[in-house]
């Protein structure tokens, strides 16, 4: 999995007033947990652009006051109106412990069902998986070439080495749905016969 480095500074004080001052100065207050003790720090808001406004998922190499550690983004809070980043939670990861993370789904191929007048619908843009950090892929690629009209690929049908899928097994990930035009054509053909 791709990784990105973010430089942060330890917070000297915590609380609403301090957090507000940090945001006014163009920083984002953050917390990292999962290790021995939670670490409160802040980083420049521009550093998070590549991590937040993207379909990709990254492992984050945090550098807090010169101390390096690996983490994943666990939670993020936005302002309800302005959509600016208010706070980010990071979960520290260790090589020997599995992590739970959402990986984006990538579709390849041109489905049979689309040629027959259907439309490809991606029901889940991201899949929740559990794996060791070294086994995490950038994306989960699904080949949809064999997918006919009205068919779908469900979570239970997916297999990737060293990955455990945590979504409900019966949930369809991608499906070829029948469009109104295709349904009308099918009804017309049935009426002729």
């Amino acid at each position: 999995m791709k990784s990105i480095e973010i430089k942060g500074q330890l917070r000297t004080a915590v609380g609403k007033k301090d957090a507000k001052n940090l945001r006014n100065a163009g920083n984002v207050p953050c917390v990292m947990y999962g290790g021995e003790a939670p670490v409160h720090f802040y980083a420049d808001a521009n550093e998070f652009r590549k991590v937040v406004y993207t379909p990709s998922v990254y492992l984050i190499d945090l550098n807090i006051n010169g101390e390096a550690c690996k983490a994943i983004m666990q939670d993020i809070q936005f302002h309800p109106v302005t959509d600016e980043i208010l706070h980010i939670d990071f979960l520290q990861i260790f090589e020997e412990n599995p992590v739970t993370i959402e990986i984006p789904v990538e579709v390849e191929g041109f489905a049979k069902g689309i040629k027959a007048g259907g439309k490809l619908k991606i029901n889940l843009r991201r899949l929740k998986v559990k794996a060791l950090a070294k086994d995490l892929p950038d994306t989960i690629t699904l080949n949809v070439e064999e997918l006919g009209l009205g068919e779908s690929i469900k979570v239970e049908a997916m297999e990737v080495e060293n990955l455990e899928f945590l979504n409900a097994k019966s949930t369809p990930v991608v499906s070829v749905i029948i469009t109104r035009a295709a349904r009308a054509a099918m009804n017309a053909a049935a009426a002729e016969n």
């Binding site: 993207t54 379909p55 936005f78 109106v81 959509d83 984006p104 843009r125 109104r180």
Partner: protein, 139 residues
């Protein structure tokens, strides 16, 4: 027009709309949407007018989600009636909206088409809105 099939109480109190939307403030289903920047009551008619504007402009392509539902009954007294003699009769249903609330979402259409369709929809609403895009959207 959107309205509840049945209601438990025919008349409810006005209530207050304080603060920003604490839920329904992020795009959840589609790719593009409009977000309210003010608080107001949206009537079922206004929501329907906006929906028609979006559907007409998108020419039945793509998919649309309405993220607010008018479930609050509003009463009105008839014209030229003296005060008193009880509360008026139910007139319409409204959806209370606070700043930050996502009102409509669309998917399956190009960026420019969605932006124009949602601009037309916003003109039918009594609030100022802003156009928002899903964070992981790439053209």
């Amino acid at each position: 027009m959107l309205q509840p099939r049945k209601v438990k109480f025919r008349r409810v109190q006005k209530g207050r709309m304080k603060g920003n939307a604490q839920r329904g403030n992020q795009i959840a289903f589609g790719t593009f949407g409009i977000k309210s920047l003010e608080s107001a009551w949206l009537t079922g008619r206004q929501i329907e007018a906006a929906r028609v504007a979006v559907t007409r402009h998108m020419q039945r392509q793509g998919q649309i989600w309405i993220r607010v539902f008018p479930d609050k009954p509003i009463t009105k007294k008839p014209a030229e009636v003296r005060m008193g003699k009880g509360k008026g009769s139910p007139e319409a249903f409204v959806a209370p909206v606070t700043p930050g609330r996502i009102l409509f979402e669309v998917e399956g259409v190009p960026f420019e088409l969605a932006k124009e369709a949602l601009r037309l929809a916003a003109q039918k609403l009594p609030v100022t809105t802003k156009f928002v895009v899903r964070r992981d959207y790439v053209e």
